[in-house]
């Protein structure tokens, strides 16, 4: 896949057309034949009319009609074929592109995800991929359809009368232009409508989220009035779209109508004079009407292709995005003997300000590191660097005395069990959530892990216990329960390094105490890092770092820090006071 990537990024349309040239070519041939058959019909109708008006015997009329029947058969077959062939083509393209986008996103890191909302990304996967599909599929198809038809109808028209042809079609070249212009305004309208829609949703969201406040102040009416302001804005935007949309039909039909009027005025003398037969006159009239589609098709098709191209620009941005941390390491590590951070400083990519200044520490196998500090002191950044969310200079983070960039990401990740701040669970079964990090597991593993965090009894009290779904359609977990689930999820992996990033903030003090006690037994042989704002959590650590403004303000064990660190002492006093009062 990666080898093809450069060509895909450079010329996406061509890349896919080449890849599926058989479908594309056979689809186009069927389309051309369909168009040819379609063009023949008015010709034959005209001929029949001539036969009828010259009073030939009925069986001669029957002969032409027989030909029409044969055309029906071929026409239906070709029409079916091009649709199917072409659909195969563009839906396969869409599938391929969709997978590429998702696969790429799955490799990307925080630099990509931070500034983007999930909704945008979903829209990229479904809407933008679809726009691209519409461009390469229906867009090109319609273009070709229009071009083929035009190339087929014009010779027939010229054959009837070259003079009529240019005179009646004189307005036609304006059609693609008009169509394109209207489409442009229409899209602008859609865009504005989308913005107003977001306002509207926002307004509704506020009302529903704040319903308790609204009710308790009995302000339902004022809120409805406020909602109506947004609702009106949205309605206006919809009306704008309606206006352009309504303009579409008439602006297509008027040139045809004028063509027909010109034919009536300029063509009839030729018919009366006998230079052109009545049947041909009728055929010509029908061809004028049929010219409208090729003309608008060019407008519509170009519009689709333009949009597809614009969508691909957004897609390309993702496909070209590089992961924050390239997976270039070759060394496999299977156990953690030591973790060392040497003079680590860090500035977030794209920013100026250093957030970590010269952090150093060393942890041996089985030791526990505590990290405390105020919000913004750099605790989470440090953890993010340890778990390789961002690149660090070589030699600043070492595992078993090997610099981390030399270690393969996969083996590093298998070494670490992380419990992040935000307790994110998947809408899967409780058991599947707990065993997320295991390739193979049975219920006992899950049960034991749940026991570690005192969740086993709660889970077993649910009717579906470990089979229960997490989330809206299953059990709704409290913040504390979620955090304990994520903790169990990390413990179940028996990882060499367990990192708790303020992971028990929503658990009440009493339960936290019990869990920590249990963990200390559990993690006796595991290296661990505990980030917390509660000193009780880190009291037992072998080493505690107090961070302030990205620097280590002081380090040591609990007893030492109470003496040595002003921040630590203040935190300690505050929490002690709370306990004693």
């Amino acid at each position: 896949m990666t080898e093809e990537q450069p060509e895909l990024l450079a010329r996406p349309f061509w890349f896919y057309v080449k890849k599926h040239k058989l479908w594309v070519a056979s689809g186009l041939i069927c389309l051309f034949l369909t168009n040819l058959m379609e063009t023949l019909i008015p010709w034959l109708v005209g001929k029949t009319l001539d036969k009828i008006s010259t009073n030939v015997p009925l069986h001669e009329v029957g002969g032409i009609i027989g030909r029409i029947f044969i055309i029906i058969l071929f026409l239906s077959a070709f029409r079916f074929l091009w649709r199917v062939l072409w659909a195969q083509f563009h839906h396969t393209v869409a599938q391929d592109l969709r997978n590429r986008v998702f696969d790429r996103m799955a490799q990307l890191g925080p630099t990509f995800f931070r500034p983007r909302k999930i909704g945008q990304l979903i829209s990229l996967i479904s809407n933008d991929v679809n726009s691209f599909r519409m461009g390469i599929g229906p867009g090109f198809l319609v273009l070709f359809d229009g071009i083929f038809l035009m190339c087929l109808i014009l010779p027939f028209m010229i054959a009837i009368s070259p003079a009529w042809t240019w005179k009646t079609l004189i307005l036609m070249p304006f059609v693609p232009f008009t169509v394109n212009t209207i489409l442009k305004y229409l899209h602008r309208g859609f865009h504005a409508r989308q913005e107003r829609f977001a306002d509207l949703s926002g307004s509704a969201q506020e009302i529903v989220s704040g319903i308790r406040v609204i009710k308790s102040f009995a302000q339902e009416h004022s809120q409805t009035q406020q909602f109506n302001v947004h609702s009106t804005g949205f309605r206006r935007a919809c009306d704008q779209v309606a206006w352009w949309d309504a303009l579409f039909g008439p602006s297509l039909e008027l040139p045809v109508a004028l063509g027909s009027v010109l034919l009536l005025l300029l063509g009839t003398p030729d018919v009366i004079a006998g230079r052109v037969t009545l049947g041909q006159f009728f055929t010509f009239y029908q061809y004028i009407q049929r010219m409208i589609w090729p003309m608008s098709a060019i407008g519509v098709g170009l519009g689709n292709v333009q949009e597809g191209r614009a969508a691909f620009v957004r897609i390309r941005e993702v496909l070209e995005f590089a992961p924050d941390v390239p997976d270039t390491g070759k060394v496999e590590v299977s156990e953690l003997r030591s973790l060392e951070v040497r003079d680590l400083s860090f500035t977030y990519p794209g920013t100026q300000q250093k957030v970590l200044h010269g952090i150093s520490f060393r942890l041996e196998h089985g030791q526990c590191l505590g990290i405390v500090g105020m919000t913004g002191a750099g605790k989470s950044t440090l953890i993010d660097l340890l778990i390789r969310q961002y690149p660090v200079p070589p030699g600043t983070i070492l595992i078993n005395d090997i610099s981390v960039e030399q270690i393969s990401l996969r083996s590093l990740r298998q070494l670490i069990g992380i419990v992040p701040q935000e307790a994110f669970l998947f809408s899967r079964k409780v058991s599947e959530n707990l065993a997320l990090g295991l390739d193979q597991w049975d219920l006992d593993d899950v049960r034991v892990a749940a026991g570690h965090v005192r969740l086993d009894q709660e889970i077993e009290s649910w009717p579906e216990n470990y089979e229960a779904l997490v989330g809206e359609r299953g059990v709704n977990l409290s913040g504390g329960q979620k955090q304990r689930m994520t903790l169990a999820r990390a413990l179940i992996r028996n990882a060499g390094l367990v990192i708790l990033d303020d992971a028990l903030s929503a658990v009440d003090t009493k339960t936290e105490g019990r869990i920590l006690e249990h963990l200390q037994n559990q993690l006796r042989h595991t290296t661990s890092i505990i980030v917390s704002h509660r000193l009780a959590s880190v009291k037992q650590a072998d080493l505690i770092l107090v961070l302030k403004d990205g620097r280590v303000e002081s380090r040591g064990r609990h007893d030492e820090l109470v003496q040595a660190s002003a921040i630590y002492k203040a935190l300690n006093d505050m929490q002690m006071e709370a306990q004693q009062a």
Partner: protein, 594 residues
């Protein structure tokens, strides 16, 4: 991996086009004039459209055959006039109907949002907010498409078909009769294929929402998936969904690829038949060439509306589900708004709770048991107790968010069951624990868009509630607060909630103190704001701060839905009962630092 991750409401569809139309009709008929104008525009448009083939036929018979150039000129001018008229009508008709639809949707949205706000609190506990928002926005939008792309378009196309049929019969009812014979098999094929297409559409749409839901969740938790080395698994699953989606789309297209050629084939077939019959009628019944051409032109126009109808009908079947959900929401029972008002003037603030018990629903355990409590005007009462002891339920009942089952709550001697929620709630101000703030200006957060709360009043309230720092930091009353108050600290959010209460000047105050960690500066400001807000009002406070508890006239200790103890701080401590137990366990957190 289980496939349960997507939470799409799979309500069995009870709505059909006809039933939906009946439900929608009152909303349409509310704008009678617009309905009538629409009908007039559509019918004139259709009549003008049908006149054109006749005119063309007339040109052939009277102009060309009779070599009358005068007639041809007249016809050409008439043709030009009619086509211009038709184009104009097409524009007006389409624009008018769409705008009309937008107006109706506006009405429906207004009705919905008003209705949503009238629903009992229990509704919001059961339904995630996102779902309700989707009803009011996306689903109504889908209903709109159903209206303009569906009803209106199908109606216009039907009228077209009927008018063409009548015109055909006018030219030759015999030829038309013979052509009509082939219609039933065509309609049957259309019906069968359409049904399959609709089914496929539904399946395709469901698959797409699975793809979206799966992507949303995987990308939301991408860090976890990466760190737990599960991205390969997610990719494989995505590719499976993606391929299933393509297969479904292809099978839909195959059905369409069958349906359209069939209709087209019938179209040409009828044309061929008409030509042959035309030749026969021309020969033996003197049908003119002009009539025959008009007939052929009309016939060619007959199948386009049929195609349109089928296309719309199939695609819009899915929007029916959205419409269905909209009407389901409208059918939700609102809370009982009946009851009388309090006498004019301020309340004294006497609250009597008389042997009151409460449960959230039949069969559920009682969360409040035999609560008996008299609160005199101007008194401050602190509620303390563990999580789940019934404090919050008691407060919800005081606001009549639920109805009392057993016993009674009286305010100024009037039973809450006799008072309407609308009358009660403005009298009781609530400062919520989470300090909910709206995204928007500080002013809007204080006034809640009520015009009665002027800028001056809001400013006064903000100052009283110690919001000076907030005002300074965010640029005064017009400063913008982000969604969920993310640019405010927990303490600041609570201060803003105080300002809101002060602006509305209630007679009774309910305060649910924040438990979150609050820095000492805010702590002091909140304390000050609490003092201002409680002054001269009856107050019921779920207290977490020792300083607040100490200020209260009465401490009510709740335990398992009962009142365990009542009294003052020192008395209660000396009793060595529940209160002192809570105090020791720090469930009455005592970080009352001043």
């Amino acid at each position: 991996m289980s496939q349960h991750f997507f939470a799409e409401d799979n309500v069995a569809l009870e709505l059909t086009f006809v039933r939906l139309f009946r439900k929608l009709w009152p909303a349409l008929w509310a704008h009678q004039r617009k309905v009538i104008v629409s009908l007039l525009l559509v019918s004139t448009y259709v009549v003008v459209g049908r006149a054109l083939p006749f005119l063309f036929g007339y040109a052939i018979d009277e102009g060309i055959k009779n070599r009358n150039e005068q007639v041809i000129f007249m016809v050409a001018m008439a043709y030009l006039g009619l086509e211009s008229l038709r184009a104009g009508l097409l524009f007006l008709q389409s624009c008018h109907i769409q705008k009309f639809g937008n107006l109706v949707l506006f009405d429906i949205r207004e009705r919905l949002i008003a209705h949503v706000q009238s629903l009992p609190v229990s509704y919001f506990e059961k339904n995630p907010s996102g779902r309700t928002v989707t009803r009011v926005t996306n689903d109504v939008f889908a209903l709109g498409e159903l209206f303009s792309q569906g009803f209106a378009a199908i109606f216009v196309n039907m009228v077209e078909m009927i008018s063409i049929f009548i015109s055909l019969a006018l030219i030759s009812w015999m030829m038309t009769g013979i052509t009509v014979v082939i219609l039933p098999p065509l309609l049957w094929i259309c019906f069968v294929l359409s049904r399959k297409i609709r089914f496929q559409f539904g399946a395709t749409k469901r698959k797409l929402s699975m793809i979206n839901a799966f992507s949303a969740e995987s990308l939301g938790g991408i860090k976890i998936l990466q760190l737990y080395d599960r991205t390969d698994e997610a990719q494989t699953f995505f590719e499976k969904l993606s391929s299933e989606y393509r297969v479904l789309q292809l099978s839909t297209i195959k059905l369409f690829a069958t349906l359209w050629p069939v209709i087209e084939a019938f179209n040409i077939f009828t044309l061929a038949v008409a030509l042959f019959l035309g030749a026969y009628f021309n020969k033996y019944h003197g049908m003119s060439i002009g009539h025959l051409t008009a007939y052929i032109l009309l016939l060619q126009g007959f199948f386009k509306p049929l195609k349109n109808i089928l296309e719309r009908y199939n695609q819009l079947q899915n929007s029916l589900a959205s419409a269905d959900r909209v009407f389901h929401l409208l059918d939700e029972m609102p809370e009982d708004s009946s009851g009388r008002d309090f006498p004019a003037g301020r309340l004294h603030g006497q609250i009597d709770i008389e042997h009151m018990s409460f449960r959230y629903g039949p069969g559920l355990p009682e969360v409040l048991k035999d609560i008996h409590l008299a609160i005199k005007p101007g008194m401050s009462v602190a509620l303390v107790g563990r999580t789940g002891s019934g404090k919050s339920s008691l407060i919800a009942l005081l606001q009549k968010l639920y109805n009392v089952e057993k016993g009674d709550i009286r305010v100024d001697g009037l039973s809450l069951s006799a008072v309407s929620p609308k009358a009660l709630r403005p009298r009781i101000g609530v400062v919520q624990q989470d300090g909910f703030v709206f995204s928007g200006s500080i002013l809007a957060n204080i006034s809640l868009f009520n015009p009665k709360v002027t800028r001056e009043r809001a400013l006064w309230a903000a100052e009283q509630a110690q919001c000076q720092d907030i005002l300074r930091k965010h640029g005064g009353l017009d400063g913008m607060i982000q969604e969920r108050g993310s640019n405010l600290s927990a303490g600041e959010r609570q201060l803003l909630a105080f300002a809101r209460v002060l602006a509305f000047d209630p007679d009774i105050l309910i305060l649910d103190e924040a438990t979150a960690n609050i820095d000492s500066v805010s702590e002091r400001q909140i304390q000050k704001a609490t003092e201002v807000a409680t002054r001269g009002r009856t107050c019921v406070i779920i207290a977490h701060r020792l300083s607040t508890i100490l200020h209260c006239d009465l401490i009510v200790v709740m335990d398992h839905g009962r009142i365990a103890e009542m009294g003052k701080h020192q008395e209660l401590l000396q009793q060595r009962g529940k209160y002192s137990e809570l105090y020791r366990e720090k469930e009455v957190p005592a970080n009352g630092r001043i």
